[in-house]
Symmetry: C2
Subunit: 177 residues, 2 copies
């Protein structure tokens, strides 16, 4: 075993989402940071939106009873949204795991969590004892990013471990190595 | 040569400064990203403040002659500042090179540039064809950072290549791996 591969038993957290950029970040990292036989543990994290969407209105539409807030959607619709959200999570993680299929002696784990991705990624980095967090440079849609800022920007400022932010190069700039 | 080391001919730019955090970032990267015999080129970049400090006042202290701006400091003082600045640059780069002394088959280059570190680091990443930028999470003093934001934050948003931001763990959190 070479020196390069003998000394690693790192826990590397990769935040993945529906966007191409996070899959590119994972691929880039597999070529540049994670190695065969490295004994690293790779944790693929997908963050779903919070599954229960509450409204300040109670079931009658009044706001005079703060003790009984109602759901914004009916239970049926909430269940459908939750089911769809879980399917998206499964699909994203399946795609990510496929990218990792050639890794040998690297443990690949998956996690699905719910909440604001900024907070969840920061919390999970700490809870899972990540030695390195890897993510694409985006992580929200264009409109949401305009209001909330980018997830990667928030995480790079708040996560305690090293953070690798990988941007997908523009087609004209040539593919990354 | 192992697979992990055979495929690399990357240009890795590491921004170093007087702070302990940038030296920690370099050390961490040498253990986690840069490998012996990898054929990577490691470029250590130090950014000095702009060396000529101009004043809108002319040499007589009047502002009615825009063609002949004077120096804010006398030439002697400017020369002394420049000399001190160069000595700091040499000292930082010497310290950084010492950290890299055990690297085999990895080219180590040094660069000294002048200007706002945020712009210079972004520009040099592109000009030098960096495949990866590595930096500590700070890069300004506390007061300057309060006004300008952190260098790493700016660079992570504006540099086109992947950016690795390494924070020095707090003593209570235990040393990094």
């Amino acid at each position: 075993m070479s020196e390069a591969t003998a000394r690693f038993e790192r826990r590397v957290l990769v935040a993945v989402d529906e966007g191409e950029e996070s899959m590119y970040a994972l691929s880039w990292s597999l070529r540049n940071v994670i190695f065969q036989n490295s004994r690293d543990t790779l944790i693929l994290l997908y963050v779903k939106p919070p599954h229960a969407v509450y409204s300040p209105l109670d079931s009658t539409g009044r706001i005079d009873d703060p003790e009984t807030p109602g759901y914004l959607f009916s239970p049926d619709i909430s269940a459908a949204i939750e089911k769809y959200s879980q399917e998206v999570a499964d699909c994203v993680l399946e795609k990510a795991k496929k990218l990792c299929k050639d890794l040998q002696n690297v443990m690949v784990e998956t996690r699905v969590e719910s909440g604001d991705p900024r907070d969840v990624i920061c919390d999970m980095s700490q809870k899972l004892g990540a030695d390195l967090l890897i993510m694409g440079s985006h992580g929200y849609g264009v409109v949401k990013r305009a209001f909330l800022g980018s997830v990667s920007n928030y995480c790079s400022q708040n996560v305690k471990c090293p953070v690798l932010i990988v941007k997908k190069p523009k087609p004209s700039a040539g593919a990354g190595k």
